[in-house]
Subunit: 418 residues, 2 copies
């Protein structure tokens, strides 16, 4: 490596333009690799690359299942023309094949950079052609293009960055300088590492959530609760906390912790948990003990996640007015996570079908939630619930239980409430 | 941002030395941020920084709980002197306080770089001093030092990099050039992002493993299995797979998947699972069904983790000679993960105390494992077990059940085998 040879040079010249550009690249690399939110990162890659090359517009594709998915579209000219009312690019999230016909497809399949002076004057002899649909729809004129592969360190293309209309000092679209090709390729490599890292983190987090869901459902195997219940109630909890102004990290914690709210039922004997008729007073006390057993199972938390899960397990049956169990805590003495999950859990229990009961109508459940504001539920949670009610109904639809098989439609014996 | 101004320049001069250095930095940044294994990364940070500055030696501290932990030590001179028999630096993993007295402590607390011409000639007026212990122990002469803070993008110091003895073209120790300070600070910022990312990934993975352990233990709440059993058997499984030559990712999958091997016991009624006496033939059949129920609970896997967990749940009671259950699979027809966990699970059951039985002596269990080679267990697994037996005994000691309370020492009724 010839790197060290230069170190002893003692010149005091001002850094060259190229040096400035390259050291800017290092800062961009640091900024990109320290961003872990995938959606934010994708936008940021295009923003930084456009700023670096001074381009009017830019877009980004990521490789998914052998296709290119269009994930980011930025365009200053259109944005300025319709401030505040920019229609979302209708091509977003569409996929195109990785083939030589499209510009992005060509770059993805060859791994080569394309530097095009005028998109409308591509020689017919080239395999790729420019698609004018977007330009015509938005009355835009794409001229110069620099299309760059995002290659990971193993040289695999994982995305394609498209920079559109380099601007000169007067804001006029000019060709991209051949000089910057190397630098933009470097930027793309840094972006590729950042993208891969963020994808990996997202994948690990997803696997984590999946495991928790699986095992939480398993923990309720003897009960009547289902995968769908766990999916919905954890998402309802997250929605409510979001509309209470919680930060992303805390919302995620609650999303992951809330599925574990009923693990304590593992400590309730079959004879009570699965009893077909109503419970006696003593049996009910044992049943209510699932909150304390849950906190015990999740005891000595050594992570934030388990700490929240334990708190939820213990307090998700407390009522805001002090009439709940196990301790009859009132108001602010119930931890906020318990108050949120309480609403999410009961809302789901009432609004969904169980094998022992049909669902209550949505209108009825919603009206009932309103009535319990300040009684069973924290008024602040109820308000957040109504603020996010559209998203809650989306979850309700998306994670609906499949209709039961015809044979199972016969009425079942009533089961005890948990 | 003045970045774009330079783009239209069309010069064809060869890149300057500084340009070469900076563009090397970009490559180093990409290499570091794409390394996710924390231990590998820590070494790599020192290796790359030494190569970049051409230093004979280097070391790295990371900030942990308000202290500096010494995590990497590299020294070419000592390495060449005793090839193949370099003693591990005895100071490794020690911590020092973040105070102005030590060089690394000074850099960590002030956030400033130190460039020292001769470690033995630091003026007494400076708050910090050089510790000669290492030099004296290894007959080494530390001369020049460059000590750099690893700052995250929020400017927080998360580590300290120490470069020792810059070498000139003849291999003679010379001072570090003031010219490279900026560049080494850049390298340190890139290293800081990479380090933070790797720490974050490690933390997410740890949280994931913790949740799985918790919930798997919870799933066996009605059974006699404990947190310690789950901890040990999952680690035994990982050790065996390691000595069978598996890759790191596969080993991790098995480590995470194996705790779930008995989730199917959730489907076994209390009356059988908790029966104090021996089981009838029919009861035993129900009990053995926990393998099939487990596979059912973990059905439709949408991740590699759950796929492996399902396979383990189904097959961890099969025997290599075909005498196991539920299907009496033989040899290669049992998936490898099932063969490994079978050995790990039984070894732990025999070698550990349960409330209904004392542990078998280790010598006996090990002898018995040897005898079952090719009968109950895959010979390849048994061989890997013996290859890694030292590590297995370490886990055995480390995750030993605490001695039972005196009151609980009375003999308990025998419990059925799972």
């Amino acid at each position: 490596m010839p790197v060290s040879a230069g170190i002893s040079q003692k010149t005091t010249m001002a850094p060259s333009r190229t040096e400035q550009l390259i050291s800017n690249l290092i800062k961009i690399g640091i900024a990109l690799t320290s961003e872990h939110d995938l959606d934010v990162l994708l936008e940021q890659i295009v923003t930084e690359a456009r700023r670096f090359t001074r381009s009017d517009a830019g877009s980004l594709y990521v490789v998914e299942d052998g296709l290119l998915r269009f994930v980011v579209s930025q365009n200053d000219t259109i944005m300025k023309r319709q401030p505040g009312a920019v229609p979302k690019n209708p091509y977003l999230n569409r996929t195109i094949p990785i083939s030589h016909q499209s510009l992005a497809g060509y770059v993805a399949s060859t791994g080569q950079i394309l530097n095009i002076r005028d998109a409308y004057k591509i020689p017919a002899s080239e395999p790729y052609h420019f698609n004018k649909d977007f330009d015509e729809k938005y009355m835009y004129r794409t001229r110069s293009l620099m299309i760059v592969p995002l290659k990971d360190p193993q040289d695999k293309v994982i995305g394609v960055l498209q920079l559109i209309n380099a601007l000169d000092a007067n804001g006029k679209a000019v060709a991209f300088s051949g000089m910057v090709e190397e630098l933009v390729l470097s930027l793309a490599s840094q972006a590729a590492v950042a993208l891969k890292n963020a994808q990996l983190t997202a994948q690990i987090k997803k696997a984590h959530f999946d495991s928790i869901l699986r095992l939480s459902v398993a923990a309720e195997y003897r009960d009547r609760d289902t995968y769908y219940h766990i999916q919905r109630m954890s998402r309802y909890s997250a929605m409510i906390s979001k509309h209470m102004g919680w930060g992303k990290a805390e919302i995620d914690l609650l999303l992951y912790a809330s599925p574990m709210h009923d693990v304590g039922k593992l400590g309730v004997p079959d004879s009570i948990l699965m009893k077909p008729g109503p419970l006696t007073h003593d049996e009910r006390k044992v049943m209510e003990g699932h909150t304390i057993i849950g906190a015990d199972i999740l005891g000595n938390p050594d992570s934030d996640l388990i700490r929240v899960a334990k708190s939820v397990a213990l307090t998700h049956h407390e009522h805001f007015d002090g009439t709940g169990y196990p301790y009859g805590l009132r108001g602010e003495r119930i931890p906020m996570e318990g108050r949120i999950v309480s609403l999410a859990d009961v809302f789901d229990a009432l609004s969904s079908r169980r094998c022992y009961k049909p669902p209550m109508s949505l209108d009825h459940v919603i009206e009932w939630v309103r009535q319990e504001r300040g009684k069973q539920f924290d008024p602040a949670c109820v308000d957040a619930f109504f603020e996010g009610v559209d998203e809650i109904l989306e979850v309700y639809e998306k994670y609906k239980e499949p209709a039961p098989e015809p044979a199972a439609k016969e009425p079942q014996p009533a089961a005890p409430a948990g």
